[in-house]
């Protein structure tokens, strides 16, 4: 693997067992992602996009194949090792924002910092990121007091506060109106361009997919283009 590849996936398979039925979610996926790349992944429901994300993000182990993230093979990792991976090296942005409702925006970001083991709060440059995200003056509000667009930008801030190697965005504009979708996509592109953040983004929307450097198409658990 070239050192510029932050993700290398070879012949990845994932089989779920639902009752007595085995469901083959991924059927031999191969994918290379370079450091600093912004890759859009599109495909119909059930094509295996989310399963691919969950494996790359260390939320679930692969059934077989190779998944190398930053020179570490996720297939050989224990549950605790994958948990450690999620603390600092990969981060998620979800369609439903998934902010903790009891905490303010600032504390939602701080909890990610805390879980990474850093007790010193965000570094000074992070303030500039918050300005770029346009939420610097909304940090003391709870998620219920923020618009969808603001919540998603807080979720992005939370995701990048620990400088992850990979940002996994799962339908980040799926719950947003057009204006907010454009704003969030612009933010993701800015993060990629200004900070060199590697981003994998699942989307159904071709316009959203166009924000990436390239688009990967999935169908029936395989990459088809």
């Amino acid at each position: 693997m070239s050192s510029s590849h932050v993700i290398r996936i070879e012949n990845l398979r994932k089989v779920y067992r639902v009752g007595k039925v085995q469901v083959e979610a991924l059927r031999g996926v191969d994918l290379l992602v370079e450091r600093g790349e912004f890759v859009s992944i599109v495909g119909p429901s059930g094509s295996g996009k989310s399963t691919l994300f969950h494996i790359v993000g260390g939320l679930t182990p692969p059934t077989s194949g190779t998944v190398i993230v930053e020179d570490r093979d996720l297939a050989r990792m224990s549950d605790a090792e994958r948990t450690r991976l999620r603390k600092t090296r990969v981060a998620f942005v979800f369609q439903k924002f998934n902010l903790l409702p009891t905490l303010s925006a600032a504390d939602n970001i701080a909890i990610a910092r805390h879980l990474s083991g850093n007790r010193n709060g965000a570094d000074p440059q992070f303030r500039a990121v918050l300005e770029m995200l346009g939420i610097a003056n909304r940090l003391h509000h709870r998620p219920s007091e923020l618009s969808g667009g603001e919540q998603q930008r807080v979720a992005i801030a939370r995701a990048i506060v620990n400088h992850p190697a990979i940002l996994l965005a799962d339908e980040p504009t799926g719950n947003l109106d057009t204006a907010n979708s454009q704003l969030v996509l612009s933010v993701l592109r800015d993060l990629n361009q200004r900070l060199g953040q590697t981003i994998l983004m699942i989307t159904h929307n071709p316009e959203a997919a166009a924000f990436g450097h390239r688009t990967v198409h999935m169908r029936d658990g395989r990459i088809v283009g």
Binding site: T102, L103, I111
Partner: protein, 366 residues
């Protein structure tokens, strides 16, 4: 940060928090009330025994200090015998007869002798009994029975006129003439116990030894020793009862917290998924649930302490003569520990469930 998360979780659902804490508070209140009652009743017994003013007490043969006396097996002639001993200034016999077992009794006293020994009653209203079927009652009994001087109370299936109301703290709450009570209870010429006043404190040990040697089968105590025996440690059954109540409190705390935290974990399935997606370990999730349960138990313990003041007030207001509750601050940390033990045990299963949750399923939870 974890403290903040715990605090915000508790604050975010005030009704659940309040109800859980209240349910935890109930066994805490029960334990504190029971301990308060034990300590209060014993303290009251000490105060009343002390109020007699005696230096030595002679109890019936075969009785222990803890025996509840309601018979009169000591021949009254023994009082005269004691009275004639060197250094004995006063001796008086009393009869104790239960009128509403086991909490209230009537004391038959020789009023002049008893007054001389105890320093006399302080009358709040009325005066000493002079006629048959007259009684003295203390303020607490008067309040419980809502009785004033001149009121007629039915005790032992007989009507008694209240001749006076006295300040509490001397032997008993209800007093009648010794001879009258002896007649009524078929104990003519007999007494329940004998109180002895010695001419000088330094002579008490000698008189005590002398009486013990002459009255071998009678339990005889220096009053100071007798009073010191009124403690929970001297009543094994009471200690066992308190321990059983503590056990019940732990079980209730366990059940309440288990149910409450189980519901909380279900409610917060998605939040647990979010934390896991951020890299929260199983230990972090388990700690989160345990700390929340412990916080609930501390709030519950604080409410329980507050409620124990309420039960004390209720008992003193409605049954001031029968029960004498006390507030025992030394038991507050123990009650909190009992609540925390129950809560920690109760939070283990929900905590383990939360920690073991699959993050993908948790994130998909609606």
């Amino acid at each position: 940060m974890i403290h903040k998360l715990v605090w915000e979780n508790v604050r975010h659902r005030p009704v659940r928090t309040f109800l859980s804490a209240l349910l935890i508070a109930i066994p805490v209140t029960l334990v504190l009330t029971l301990v308060g009652l034990s300590e209060g009743m014993l303290s009251e017994a000490r105060r009343r025994a002390n109020g007699v003013g005696a230096d030595i007490v002679i109890r019936p043969k075969g009785s222990s200090f803890a025996s509840s006396l309601s018979s009169a097996p000591i021949p009254e002639a023994l009082v005269d015998f004691v009275r004639k001993q060197p250094h004995v200034r006063l001796a008086t016999g009393t009869v104790i007869h239960s009128i509403s077992a086991p909490l209230t009794s009537a004391a038959g006293i020789h009023l002049e002798e008893f007054s001389a020994m105890s320093g006399g009653f302080r009358f709040v209203a009325g005066g000493p009994f002079r006629e048959p079927r007259e009684i003295l009652i203390d303020e607490n009994y008067a309040r419980e029975r809502n009785a004033k001087v001149g009121a007629v109370l039915n005790l032992m299936n007989l009507d008694w006129r209240v001749s006076g109301i006295v300040e509490p703290g001397k032997l008993n709450r209800v007093f009648v003439d010794l001879e009258e009570l002896q007649e009524l209870t078929g104990n003519r010429g007999k007494v329940t116990q004998i109180y002895v006043k010695v001419d000088a404190p330094e002579n008490v040990p000698a008189v005590l030894e002398s009486l013990k040697s002459q009255l071998e089968d009678y339990p005889i105590y220096a009053m100071s020793d007798f009073i010191s025996l009124f403690s929970v440690d001297s009543y094994p059954a009471l200690k066992s009862f308190i321990n059983v109540m503590i056990g019940i409190a732990v079980v209730i705390g366990f059940a309440v917290v288990c149910l409450s935290m189980y519901m909380a974990v279900l409610q917060r399935t998605r939040e647990i998924g979010i934390l896991k997606s951020l890299g929260a370990s199983k230990g972090f999730i388990l700690t989160l649930i345990l700390r929340e349960a412990l916080l609930l138990s501390l709030v519950g313990a604080a409410i329980g302490v507050g409620l124990s003041f309420g039960t004390k007030w209720a008992l003193e207001t409605f049954v001031p003569a029968s029960l004498s509750p006390a507030i025992v601050p030394a038991w507050w940390p123990r009650a909190a520990l009992i609540a925390m033990t129950g809560a920690a045990l109760g939070a283990l299963y929900p905590g383990w469930r939360a920690a073991s949750q699959d993050p993908i399923e948790a994130l998909a939870y609606e």
